[in-house]
Symmetry: D2
Subunit: 492 residues, 4 copies
């Protein structure tokens, strides 16, 4: 599956081995087997990639949008043809199940499809006769070099919230994958290469924080798109601004969800278990806290525990597995520590997933689904993004209190409600301070023709990824006022 | 005209005198007469204004957009009824001529008119059946408290690039006028008060840098709109980002303009003199450098000097005056110093406006129109924003060279071309790196239904002021995914 | 209130008495008092009005949109200042209550407000580099002369679904009011005149079918907007097409509404009574048939009868009156005949409003609220638009059957559901074939920033009135492709 | 190339031979060889196709747009893979050159690309809180069955102005190709079949006027898209309206073009010869009349004659051929008759293309390029669409006169100007009454992301083909107003 060992960079259309002396091991989180080595590229290499992007810009920008999208149409076909291989690669280096990985790639492809509509999406607007004989128009033009800093949890999807739009709008693009999961983007870049995209339009540089800093400090880079934890998002947003760039930085989340007494019982339990434990809880739209309102506790609590206990944990490539490992031993330790901290702070363990041993994968970073009840509102497990398969429960008497708790939280990525009442749904939608709202939905991930929103500490910036938000982010507006006065006519 | 002496703040619907011990004199730049005192409000006062804005938000946001715009319709009427008084106030404290001041207020009113269209502009979008039975929608909701930091050169217009939209979208608003010209906004606030706008929705705090820092550091303030010099714009953009806010910061400009040999001669000379010397060169769209291509030098150079020499300089309230003073003795000194620096660096003085003495206004900060020829490309007068009535000339052989010079400049606010050739115009529009382009236009100020663009060091951010850019800036997108599955139906 | 007796036409900025020999009496429907005479203008007069519109077009089109909307801003102010007088006029000639008439004028004003946003709404779009060096843009330009044929039931509102947009887009406009209620539009035209609108831009011609035919046959008229009964709408749509025009023709309605067992009881009864009997049932969004699902019959049927019986009927200008007369004795007879026909066909009379005698208004065309139960699906009262205060009830077992009944009807103007279930609301919204859907709303009249939709036999055309639909209808798209090839450059 | 002889219909996913007794021969216009037979289907067959479309609608409409577009992505790939075969088929049955036919298919594919963006294009819009607690949204829903009536001159392209959008929006579709060129659409339908599109979603019925009438009279058909001559367009538009349908009907053209003295000489002659004689003049964007302004006659007239004389006429599949035959002997006779009529009316023949004999293709319907000078403004050759390789010249003194002549013409499809002056271009663009404007463009065919416009007698309707116009045409707007009042809450 993963045939190469040492990951090269892709600079100006060439695959080049890093000249760095610093490499990190990339490991299969289910086995701790070393899959290969990823370079922490030197700043010189990063600068070469930026220069390649910069030099390729002029021609790429002058390539009509109708031609630029032909590469995306090809990429869609290639991604579909290679879906199985890409999904397996994701499972191997990132840990999620094969089905989850395929779903991830589907969302990536959806963004390519939407970006194929750039000729329409990139249109400007115009007014005739703003004054007699004077016309005005707004033209969208690309920025130049854009950079994408990708996280480890969706190596195949998240770059696609930005990259297809950046390219389709006429920008050149530099992507830095997470150093923990470099293989997926490596393979995707191979496919991009196969589309025949001109040299330098798309570049890939492996690295970690030093690479990010180098990118941030370079004036040739005009725009930064990033997804990661809130402290890193805040750091990058602030530093990008200091260097005058535009930035869109997506951070952490807690995704508080409400279960009302009138919700569909079987469906909500099932859907919420998938939300809490899918991808081992390592996703920015994982439900981490559920607020049970009124009597819903009666039918919800036991059921969610039962489903948590029975969830089949193991290696994501094996059949029937419902949940894989977390990304690293370090993350496993951190998560188990946060569970203990929660217990110390007063939460009750209903299901304890610590100390998981998966037969045949004894070295894997596995944690089984964990359910904590009676989460204190001033505890770490309430406030901190755990990023693991840990679900906290809270019980309140009314929807109003539930909404107050949600709105008191620093994060505002997603919030869902399960109910059969149109009134409760409308109240929730109207009042909750979160960017992505689900009504009877467990993972309210916006389609590619909607922005991937996010509010409060979950997002820094004004334009989100996907759809017209991405087009706005990756273009700059040029306003033209034009006059050709009659009296200038002499000949005609 | 200006009846009050000490400027109060307007907080939570009340006019309150500042408890500060620090006050600055506000002076008429044509006379140096003291018009009154403006407080540098204490941080405690600023926080009171922020709190008032914060507390007023919930009700204002819940006021339907159709009602919110009624205050704007009223404001439009009031601004028109008080146009003369407002324009005179601008002339008195800011120095520009009465006609220029009236034109300024016209542009302010235009923005009120456009913001009256918020019910339409603020619409979100939606898709039925993103999957069977699942719908998705994007709703625009206001941010909360927004703050506007205004510059001295357009005290009546620039706040309107932002404020009508901020309010119409359901935000509350805090404005800090320039401490040099606080009277205009004071009077405008009186009119806003007359519309019956609910308490706390609009607040006015006087102050300087300390007030700005206080605003930037407050988490309750969600958005910063600012116009000023590039160093200040960069500072505010960076600091706003550090505090997690969105910001739109407009900075300096140089507005290089090209005159082609085939341009209409009379028109281009006249229009460009107005652009260079209007508002005494103190505007972000003032043409500061003109690149004469080929033979255009023959008919352009002498004519522009003649018109510069004959421009009638004086007190803006007097009839026939075409140009007023600059804002302060300090600015006058700085501008005259830059002229001398230009001469030292090799430029030739064709018209020297230094040492101007205007009879009857001997204390005024007057500089007459100044024309410098053969501006060296590595000189300060080439690179620095002078913000005074100083026009530099450059002579080149081709449009290509002219565009190269323009694109080498750090600023990218406006750039214009004068030509009769459709080809030259298109090439210019396509290739020039500036946000506002004029074709045979001297001051390419976008109408209120276009963004006030700006590129490179002239703007930091992604959304500009005016029109849909402002709506995007002053709203956050909430994405809602909704499912009401069939099988949940039991009763019907 | 109504001071004039003989209604003049308004042609080319002049009020001119008709030279016709045919006049009709205009009567107060509450008293049968003659209010004045309305001319059936000669075709010659209609042609004069068309010619005036045609000649005024060239200058009006060349007036910038920013100037054109100034007349609308003024008109908004004038309509508000004259709201009471206009509403009283509506009550006097049309019969509805004063409150209903004021509400009507509010909706008219809303459309003026939205049309003030034309500079933004009328923008075209553009693409740079559809091929290297070739640009394309779409410009919206006005059509020329547009004509509006108004119905009797909303003399003050319905012309505003079209007219403000037609004018703001740069068209000139000819309006023919209903010959039964000419005074309201006469007064509105007086206000339009006061705005200072240039001569010929707006013209008013009184008349009936002959006038309509004359308008339809004239090639100078480019667009027809009309609201009336379905047979007339179909006739005008077809004839307009034969003469090559674009047309938007709104016809009849039945507005079947569903009451679910889980609906809010008090609210739904109250709201639906207002919908059925408001304006004496003479509106295209009056609920005429209510389908009670399951147990809802238990609490709904008696309550609606009670409220129907107690509705206070009388002269609309008197305090406390909740319902006025129908427009004419002829209409009263027709409605009473349809009630009898319904009874003959098998419906049960629960409340019989026939033979109403209103003390002091014995000559008025009054019918009291009428409720018929068990409406047979093959009866005339099921199929025919009654246009009077007659409500039919149907009882079914399930929402599915209710929707089937709705979708079997030839009309598709509005359909509402009363429920607390999000699921029922979504199913209804998704499946019902009607253009305007209400969820717990009795009169789902779209706001001015939404199209006034209508499906099936209730509407003929593609663009509705109001908002961007009106802008699309009143403009034609001009597509421009532009090339200024490099090689053509010789001089520069 | 064309393997089949008798063209079947494609109804409900099956290829079925017509049961008709009426068949027409399809001939190669370059040879008069019989290529096969096309049925004039019986009305019973047409009704079967309509019924199949009608029955397929419900499921297709409920297929999410994201799935519907997958068939279009596949169709794009298939059209590209079969481009050569399709282009050859076009040449064989329609006569145009192979290069022209390939270009035609490119434009078809572009429309498929744009329609792949339907998920975004089909979004509705929404407003929160139109009143406190009340929300409103507009949803676009498909119409049902749509029908496309195709002309002979672009058998591969014109159906794509409509069909991809109709399908992507969720409508089902019935296409009737021109009975003269049925093979191309037959082959395209084979490709559509290969995409796996569900049965009944796309249907093809062969026939002529009787088939069209049958379609027009069927209430199940909701929308008619048609391109043809103006009399037929007018007939269909009128009849569709009589049956309550929406219709978009494109008719004839004359495409008057202006050559200014300052135009690029070589380019304009070359480009205009291509426009006049390309596709043997049988296209709705063929330049048929050129107005030479002032001195342009000196360099334009002789050059265009020379290029006309030297144009290589012959069988379109042979290498180097620049122009093919016209569609039929009848059309050839008609065109030659119109040339003679022009001469009789006073025009001067500069190049006479009549009596063409092409060696090896003596039976072909060839006419060589023809140039007539001094076209009288009251002659048939001025007014009538010739639809053959006949170019008329007119000489005037000024652009104003040229524009007057253009605007006096009944057609308004396209109009172009050749000039280097921005002023002349703007004046032309602003003043000319034509829907498609070219500036230094010979065939101003809008890209697929712009509407294919057309004004005056060249178009009947309000929405054009392509892009958002097609989406507007193929959807109906449903407006939903929703209230879930707080006081209804009892449980929570």
């Amino acid at each position: 599956m993963i045939e190469i060992k040492d990951i090269p960079n892709f600079i100006n259309g060439n695959w080049v081995s890093s000249r760095s002396e610093k490499f990190l091991d990339v490991k299969n989180p289910a086995t701790q087997d070393i899959l290969g080595k990823v370079p922490l590229s030197t700043n010189k290499e990063t600068l070469e990639a930026i220069d390649a992007s910069y030099l390729a810009f002029n021609d790429w920008r002058r390539t009509p949008a109708t031609e630029r999208i032909q590469y995306l149409f090809k990429l869609k076909t290639l991604l579909e043809e290679n879906l199985t291989d890409l999904a397996k690669t994701i499972t191997i280096e990132c840990g999620k199940t094969f089905d989850e990985a395929k779903g991830e790639m589907r969302r990536a492809i959806e963004n390519v499809e939407v970006a194929c509509g750039i000729p329409l999406m990139m249109q400007g607007y115009n007014s005739e006769d703003i004054a007699p004989g004077i016309d005005e128009m707004m033209i969208r033009q690309p920025l130049g070099v854009s950079a994408i800093i990708a996280p480890f949890n969706f190596p195949g999807m998240i770059p696609f919230w930005f990259m297809p739009y950046a390219l389709a709008c006429g920008n050149t693009c530099l992507v830095k994958p997470s150093e923990r999961v470099p293989f997926t983007l490596h393979k995707i870049t191979r496919l991009i290469e196969s589309t025949g995209l001109p040299k330098g339009v798309f570049n890939l540089v492996n690295g970690a924080k030093e690479t990010v800093d180098c990118i941030l400090e370079q004036p040739k880079v005009r725009a930064i798109s990033m997804v990661g934890s809130t402290p890193v998002a805040r750091y990058i947003y602030s530093k990008a601004a200091t260097y005058g760039k535009r930035a869109q930085c997506q951070g952490g989340a807690k995704n508080l969800t409400v279960v009302m007494p009138d919700a569909d019982q079987d469906m909500s339990v099932k859907v919420l278990a998938d939300s809490a434990f899918g991808s081992a809880g390592q996703r920015c739209l994982a439900t981490s806290l559920i607020i049970m309102v009124g009597d819903s506790v009666d039918w919800f609590k036991d059921s969610i525990c039962e489903i948590a206990q029975n969830r089949k944990v193991g290696y994501g490539l094996e059949t029937g597995i419902e949940m894989g490992p977390v990304i690293s031993p370090h993350n496993k330790n951190r998560i188990e520590g946060l569970i203990q901290k929660g217990i110390n702070d007063g939460a009750q363990v209903l299901v304890d997933g610590r100390g998981a041993v998966i037969s045949g994968y004894e070295n894997g970073n596995f944690i089984r689904p964990t359910v904590l009840d009676k989460i204190p509102l001033n505890s770490d497990v309430f406030h901190t993004e755990i990023f693991g398969p840990v679900l906290g429960l809270i019980h309140v008497d009314s929807l109003d209190i539930a909404i107050n708790i949600i709105n008191s939280h620093v994060y505002g990525n997603m919030s869902c409600i399960f109910t059969s009442s149109g009134m409760a749904a409308r109240k929730f939608r109207y009042e909750v301070d979160a960017g992505n709202i689900g009504i009877n939905i467990g993972v309210a991930a916006p389609m590619a023709f909607f922005p991937f929103s996010g509010w409060k500490e979950s997002f820094f910036g004004t334009h989100h990824g996907q759809t017209m938000d991405a087009v706005d982010f990756f273009t700059q507006k040029k306003v033209v006022i034009e006059r050709w006065p009659k009296e200038w006519s002499r000949k005609f």
